[in-house]
């Protein structure tokens, strides 16, 4: 067994006085793909926001040997966690080029950054054509690709993805998930994926957690959950 890469112990999160997460426990190993499933309002986005230090939390989150709970969002990003937020968080007023540069803002090796932009183009060729275009003019799928490309520029060890399939055409989603799988293998980026599209996420992931009203109700191998008829019917609805 490898040492735990990302762990949460007794993780609670609050919006003001309202508690939204209750004693979450999860583990993730390096190089893996873990997915967090659940209905609307189950606390999926809140979990990701807790990991990035954007919510008031209690309990402990450890990443790669350091306790990150309680740290500032900027500092967590600097440790190598790239968060692709809900709604993509693209800098719509800036160009694609500027968006990618911003993704690499924590690094200062100009040469390597230029190389990385080239590498990112290999995964997302469309961005090369859109390089000098204002990000807001890109289509939804292109913006999602840009958001992931920007996250890659951080050279992350872990990428947090908040519903990357949201609002995209099925074909684009297929393409996107294919790229995510490649990224995980070739770039050795661990992925922590929040999804409403359970069947798709379970195909990609190796481990899965199921959230219901802020609590983990089910955890296990993605494969087993996918094949378990009862779970599928009662929790995932497909």
């Amino acid at each position: 067994m490898t040492a735990p890469f990302l762990t949460a112990r007794g993780l609670c999160a609050y919006y003001g006085h309202t508690q939204v997460l209750y004693d979450l426990e999860f583990d993730m190993h390096e190089g893996g793909i873990t997915t967090l499933l659940g209905a609307n309002g189950a606390g999926k986005t809140s979990t990701l926001r807790s990991l990035s230090g954007m919510l008031r939390t209690a309990g402990e989150i450890r990443f790669d040997g350091t306790v990150i709970s309680g740290k500032h969002t900027e500092d967590i990003a600097r440790l190598g966690i790239a968060h692709v937020p809900e709604g993509r968080g693209t800098f719509v007023r800036l160009t694609v080029q500027e968006n990618l540069q911003l993704g690499a803002m924590t690094r200062s090796d100009r040469k390597a950054i230029a190389d990385d932009i080239e590498r990112v183009f290999n995964y997302f060729p469309i961005l090369r054509q859109r390089y000098y275009q204002q990000a807001g003019t890109l289509s939804g799928g292109e913006q999602q690709m840009l958001a992931i490309a920007r996250a890659l520029m951080l050279r992350p060890k872990l990428m947090l993805l908040d519903e990357p399939s949201f609002g995209l055409a099925p074909l684009i989603v297929q393409e996107l998930f294919g790229i995510l799988r490649t990224l995980n293998r070739q770039e050795r980026v661990s992925l922590f994926l929040v999804e409403q599209n359970a069947s798709l996420a379970l195909e990609l992931a190796d481990h899965a957690y199921l959230l219901e009203t802020g609590r983990v109700v089910l955890a296990g191998l993605a494969k087993e959950i996918r094949e378990d008829e009862d779970i599928r019917r009662s929790y995932l609805g497909y």
Binding site: T73, E74, A82, Q101, M105, T106, Q134, S139, G167
Partner: protein, 292 residues
């Protein structure tokens, strides 16, 4: 024809003042995504600091640069102490604080230096360089400095990583934190730079309008007009907008009956409305398009 030329030249001279202020306005807008109503008063206060330094016997350029440095630090401090606690407050809270700052700084200047009008020296002298008294050496020097600051700002925002981070931090602070940018310091830096640009504007404007706590009242309005006409997202647009406001104001005052000198301020406001109706992002501003 000669009258027209004269009025255009005179317009350029006053336009330089507005361009100066418009540049400071755009600077803060780029940094914090709001318009700072206290910008003019901050510039006025900086100018008083320069005046005080000159009174104490500093040579002009020493006073000039010390004032810029002090203003920069003061801008950073204002952000860290007054605006940091209300970062997440709605825009109206910011507006109220801007207005409070306006009043406080205005009164403070009056309290320290009194409301009597003081002359402020020009580093360029006042001899005429063009059009028999229409464009003085000070006007020319002022235009030169405005263009210089413009080039510096343009280079900073376009070609440096800090400049890029600052633009991004203003537009989308949450995403900036996610890529590891220290947003708080970007905002503070923006305030510092805006205060510094404002200080330069104040020191260049003071020789023309004379130094007193209310010197910036109408100039800030013209500065806003210039910035809006040119586009709040474009430093170059703001400078051109400033000149345009100066020229249009002068021409309208001369050639349109009933406008005269009294109605000049109205021209600035009419310009703001006209431009906002036709081109909401200003003549040179980047249009913000977004698909979903």
């Amino acid at each position: 024809m000669e009258l027209l030329l004269h009025q255009v030249l005179a317009g350029i001279a006053t336009g330089a003042i507005y361009a100066c202020m418009a540049l400071a306005v755009v600077m803060i807008y780029q940094a914090i995504d709001h318009l700072n109503f206290a910008q003019g008063e901050m510039a006025m206060f900086s100018t008083f600091i320069a005046w005080q330094l000159l009174e104490w016997g500093f040579p002009y350029w020493a006073a000039f640069f010390v004032t810029i440095a002090v203003s920069f630090v003061a801008g950073v401090l204002i952000e860290r102490t007054i605006f940091k606690p209300i970062h997440n407050a709605p825009i109206l809270s910011h507006v109220v604080v801007f207005i409070a700052l306006f009043v406080v700084i205005n009164s403070l200047a009056g309290f320290i230096w009194e409301f009597t009008i003081k002359p402020f020296p020009s580093p360029f002298g006042t001899r005429s360089v063009l059009g028999s008294g229409l464009l003085s050496a000070h006007d020319a020097g002022m235009i030169g400095i405005v263009v210089l600051i413009l080039l510096l700002l343009y280079g900073f925002f376009r070609y440096t990583r800090v400049g890029l981070a600052m633009r991004a931090a203003a537009a989308n602070p949450e995403s900036c934190r996610l890529v590891g940018i220290r947003v708080d310091w970007m905002l503070a830096l923006g305030w510092g730079m805006a205060a510094a640009v404002g200080a330069v504007a104040g020191m260049l404007i003071a020789p023309i309008v004379f130094l007193e706590p209310n010197m910036m009242l109408s100039i800030l309005l013209y500065g806003f007009a210039g910035a809006v006409v040119g586009g709040l997202t474009s430093p170059a647009g703001a400078v051109l907008g400033g000149f345009a406001v100066g020229i249009i104001e002068n021409l309208a005052g001369t050639f349109i009956p009933y406008v005269g000198r009294e109605m000049k301020l109205t021209i600035a406001l009419a310009l703001i409305i006209a431009v906002l109706m036709v081109r909401p992002s200003g003549l040179f501003g980047r249009k913000i398009v977004s698909r979903v």
